[in-house]
Amino acid sequence: MSTKVIRDQPGRTGTTGARPGAMGFLTDTTLCIGCKACEVACKQWNQLPMDEFGFTGYSYDNTGDLSGTTWRHVAFIERISDSEGRRPTSMRAFQSNWLMMSDVCKHCVNAGCMEACPTGAIIRTEFDTVVVQQDVCNGCGYCVPACPFGVIALDLGDGRARVGDHKAHKCTLCYDRLRDGLEPACAKACPTDSIQFGLVEDLMDRAKQRVADLRAQGVEEAHIYGDRAVGGTGGIDGLNAFFILTAPPEVYNLPAQPELPQRKTIPASVSTALAAVAFAVGAILSLRRK
């Protein structure tokens, strides 16, 4: 399988636009054992319902995706054999041929969902996290296409007995726990400290050191996902919940160079205006009397 090597971009690698005092996650996927304690701890703390449910046949991932009722989701990507079909024996250090990654809301420094929300339900908290106020949310769903990562979603029920509340839901970074001085449920439950919680600037320093250590141990593709170089691009300016990955982001179903959809508004409007002018000119020219 061919892999695109992430090239470090000087000045942007390992930097983030996170505001002073911002709290967040470093999810170091190289320590993840795919146990899903994070999924269960999150559901239990937030009393979320079981999802639309069934055997997917997709490796050990039967949850599928983040949704209105799944706010931590462990992805499994099997990359067992090489291009000649040979199975691995000697492997690179840390999480080689079976990638496991606990996905979560990125709590973007500049959040697309927040900018799209017309009611002001989505706010930035004192911890610089992004939270949906459920009593304000009217379920319009504008936030859903505005998230470049496909995180936030409406709870539409499970298509059978359970009726959803039709509102937008996502990870709150355990806002209630933070206000009582506790760490988020998933970070507490993670047995290998793959999920680490703290000040974003501390976590970023830690991540940079970890990536350097990993590369020294032969994991050349280790990189931060959620700095200004990769993952926190296009106006997002950094992810407060960021990751260490060992393969290109697309392998994990993440966009490498995401962009705030709002950034397309001006170019799209200009194009539309130009198209309108062009049609108008064309109409005038073709319909005028000779």
Partner: protein, 863 residues
């Protein structure tokens, strides 16, 4: 347990999870540690971040393999051949023969130099068996295995009942001075016997048997060798994928043998971590619910034709060695009897020894199943277990349940064992009708961990207290409540009854203080009794060295003595951890020792082998052993102590004998006694196998494995073409054993909502199976259907020139709860390791086809 017990003296993990962080190399074999011990695995990850090499040897590439540096695929059931290959490689390697550390450790700390009875013959001489085999009885006479010149060991155990622990009595008879050759050259010395035994376990042979390519095997061996010695240690982690084989005990023994040769036992970052499964399964063998053990691993008394412990004296004569820590068996047993029978137990009546049940036959779990089917057993309590799904030959188990007069199930949900009579596959398929089942089924609600007080004893012998957070609702009750009140009512029933059965119950002490609206027994009162106290004044004893054999002390379990050394001090509640042994976190038996046999972390002169690996050492000035851990050694015995003639107990051991429970204080490379199937681990094929035995074609399978040949438990022949695939069963992180605690919980059920069978793409293509298809798996015991998970994590292996496919199936799933699936144990057979009576679940054979059962029993027809 006998795997480690027979060679090292105690049947338990020799090291702690935390110590793994100090390892230079961790070999995980016979275990899927990341998936089944995820919290303990954090220490493997910590070791890795410090630069350790992690190796996973397994038929399947699992979540553990994903974090390993080296993944070694092998055929399920061939681990012993690989370990034998490692033993052969190590003792013939240059490193082992030139670095003086190894010979020094082996000569002083093991029985390598001991001369064995010259009539001993092994598999190399006899084509696969040892001397003393009686084929008609499928057992061994063990005279020729003994140390040369020792008195004849007493009559061999002919019975079908076998202790899970090596009988100290076998280990104990060292009446003559042991003959040794410290140069390890004598052809009859243990070392030379071991060398000859494994001479044909070459890398090439290992490849033929297990499928591991030679270069990968050599890389495995070299890595282990590089990481053993004065400055570096290697740890082995194993779990039930070693235990659950007909040669399980011997497989574990092979690891003990290897780790002794490498000098890794008793050292930080070394040792053998036996990863036990349930939260407190270690506790359930320490204070056992096993039919063949008394608390603290004292053997149960026997009452068979050849072995009758008809009196306390007779029992002690057979079970009490004169050397080593077990010398004090009388104190431990008498104190137990005083705890059980109180004032009724007096020196005149042998402390009510006659009331203790004695073993007359096999009453292990596997024996119970046919006893139920055959109408011998009438009633059954099932508490926190689910044999309708979780036991071998689950079809036979359900037939057995249907034949009982009464069945009591205590659980949190209506598990399959309680629902068998209306919901089992055979009922859904119309083969069995509920109205024809006469069993009266009682389903009683059981309390969950947060709803009751108590302790767990985890895999490293660590006892940790669990507080009660909330009262259980309605009629839900704890096990302590249930057993206590049941016993109380039985005592009322049998009051004044003078028959032997009546006296057994009437004489038991059964008074515990109770509290609360439901009269819940105060659990700490039970801990008091377990710790032990002097009878006259009720004062707690400090530890088991205070126990006596004259009836002046009482103690519920001598190995736990010390857990409550004074009033109000429950050491299981301690919660002060540190970066080393964490001696103030919980209580570890024995006597809060964390790393067992830690005398071996110092050299024969008592100095640490290296600064980097220091743990316990001799302080010359203070005249005592000191260090980071409780010394697992008499604390004032100097390293140069020489026992005087006629010394007994621990005084009979010299100052360089770390294995205090063994008769001679040494780790046994050669297990002269204690095991039923041989003194040296030998490769035998699983009872069901697609191939013959490349090493011993005349004796391909275990000559002593416990068989149960009956029409409702038929076995496959070797190489049976109807069942060509190797199948292994295993666990997932998301579910717990037979599913009673997890398949009913929505948040767990959605993670793994349906059973599946993992097959390689190569096999899938051969059989025309696509990922997600329904498949039927079959054996002579039964058929079950499941979903196919086609994955490259399984691969075919070349075994002796032939391509062999392996498939794997988690065994959690059943017909109740939210997450359901075909019952893997409908396929497995009742067949056991002869020492431990553990079933062979990890390697048998099956057939597989695309499709569904003729009468599908999955109610929704979907995954």
């Amino acid at each position: 347990m006998p795997g480690l017990g027979a060679r090292l003296g105690r049947g338990g993990a020799t090291t702690t999870l935390q110590s793994l962080a100090d390892s230079d190399c961790i070999v995980i074999m016979g275990s899927n540690m990341a998936e089944n011990h995820p919290v303990g695995f954090r220490f493997v990850v910590r070791a890795k971040t410090r630069g350790a090499t992690v190796i996973h040897v397994d038929p399947r590439f699992s979540r553990t393999s994903a974090l390993a540096d080296l993944y070694v695929p092998l055929r399920a059931g061939t681990d012993l051949a690989v370990l034998g290959g490692l033993i052969n490689y190590v003792i013939n390697s240059e490193r082992w023969n030139t670095d003086p550390f190894f010979k020094e450790y082996v000569t002083h700390y093991t029985n390598a130099s001991v001369i064995i009875n010259p009539e001993y013959q092994g598999p190399e001489d006899l084509g696969g068996i040892f001397s003393g085999y009686i084929p008609e009885e499928r057992r061994y006479e063990t005279d020729t295995w003994q140390y040369a010149g020792q008195d004849e060991r007493p009559a061999a155990s002919e019975d079908k009942a076998q202790t899970a622990e090596p009988r100290p009595e076998y280990i104990g008879r060292l009446d003559e001075p042991v003959r040794r050759d410290p140069t390890l050259q004598d052809p009859n010395c243990v070392f030379q016997i071991v060398k000859r035994h494994y001479a044909r376990y070459t890398p090439e042979m290992v490849e033929r048997i297990s499928g591991i390519p030679q270069d990968v095997f050599i890389r495995l061996a070299e890595t282990i060798l590089e990481n053993s010695g004065r400055d570096r240690t290697t740890a082995f982690c194993y779990a039930v994928a070693w235990t659950q084989h007909t040669n399980g005990t011997q497989t574990i023994g092979a690891c003990a043998l290897l780790q002794l040769l490498l000098g890794n036992i008793g050292r930080p970052g070394g040792g053998i971590l036996a990863l036990r499964g349930h939260a407190t399964i270690q506790g359930s063998t320490d204070i056992p619910t096993l039919y063949n053990l008394l608390p603290g691993y004292l053997p149960m008394p026997m009452a068979t034709a050849l072995e009758r412990d008809e009196s306390l004296d007779a029992y002690l004569r057979r079970n009490r060695p004169m050397t080593g820590a077990w010398y004090n068996t009388p104190a431990y047993l008498v104190s137990l009897l005083k705890a059980w029978y109180g004032d009724a137990a007096t020196p005149e009546n042998d402390f009510c020894y006659d009331l203790v049940p004695k073993i007359g036959g096999d009453a292990s779990f596997q024996a119970m199943i046919p006893m139920m089917k055959d109408g011998i057993m009438k009633g059954l309590f099932v508490m926190g277990m689910n044999p309708a799904v979780g036991g071998q030959n689950a079809i036979l188990a359900r037939e057995g349940l249907a034949n009982l007069d009464w069945l009591v199930v205590r659980d949190v949900h209506e598990i399959e064992t309680a629902a068998f009579w209306w919901d089992a596959p055979e009922v859904r398929a119309g083969k069995v009708r509920p109205q024809d089942i006469k069993t009266e089924v009682f389903l009683l609600p059981a309390a969950l961990p947060g709803e009751k007080e108590g302790s767990f004893t985890n895999t490293q012998r660590l006892v940790q207290w669990h507080d009660k957070a909330i009262d259980p609702p309605d009629d839900v009750r704890s096990e302590v409540w249930f057993v206590y009140h049941l016993g109380r009512r039985l005592k009322e029933l049998y009051q004044g009854d003078d028959t032997p059965k009546g006296r057994q119950i009437a004489a038991l002490t059964w008074e515990y203080p109770t509290e609360g609206p439901h009269d819940e027994p105060v659990v700490e009162a039970i801990v008091r009794e377990i710790n032990g106290y002097t009878v006259a004044d009720g004062r707690l004893v400090p530890d088991y060295t205070a126990l006596r054999d004259d009836g002046s002390t009482a103690c519920g379990c001598w190995i736990y003595s010390g857990i409550m050394p004074e009033e109000g001090r429950n050491r299981a509640k301690d919660r002060r951890g540190d970066e080393r042994a964490s001696l103030e976190w919980g209580y570890s038996w024995p006597r809060n020792v964390r790393l067992l046999y830690n005398r071996a972390s110092a050299d024969p002169q008592g100095r640490p082998w290296s600064e980097r690996k220091k743990w316990v050492w001799w302080d010359e000035k203070e005249g005592r052993w000191t260090g980071y851990d409780t010394p697992d050694f008499p604390v004032t015995k100097p390293p140069d102590y020489v026992p005087p003639p006629g010394a007994v107990g621990l005084d009979a051991h010299p100052g360089d004998a770390p294995f205090v429970n063994m008769a001679d204080g040494r780790g046994w490379l050669f297990a002269a006694s204690g095991l039923r199937d041989g003194p040296l681990p030998t490769h035998y094929e699983p009872w069901e196998t697609p191939v013959g035995n490349a090493l011993y074609p005349e004796h391909p399978r275990s000559p002593a494995a416990n068989l149960l040949e009956r029409p409702d438990n038929r076995y496959h022949e070797i190489g049976d073409p109807r069942f060509p695939y190797v199948i292994t069963t295993y666990r997932l992180t998301e579910h717990h054993t037979a599913g009673g605690m997890s398949r009913f919980v929505p948040w767990l059920a959605e993670l793994q909502p349906h059973g599946f069978v993992e097959i390689s793409p190569e096999l899938a293509e051969e059989l025309g199976i696509n990922n997600g298809d329904w498949v039927v798996i079959s054996t002579l015991r039964g058929e079950t259907e499941s979903r196919a998970l086609v994955t490259e994590r399984l691969q075919p292996l070349v075994i002796n020139g032939k391509k062999i496919h392996q498939v794997g199936m988690p065994w959690h799933f059943g017909y109740s709860g939210i997450a359901k699936g075909g019952i893997a144990n409908d396929l497995s057979a009742l067949v056991e390791d002869p020492n431990s009576r553990i079933h062979e679940a990890k390697a048998f054979t099956c057939n597989l086809r695309k499709g569904r059962l003729t009468r599908s029993t999955d109610e929704e027809g979907r995954g």
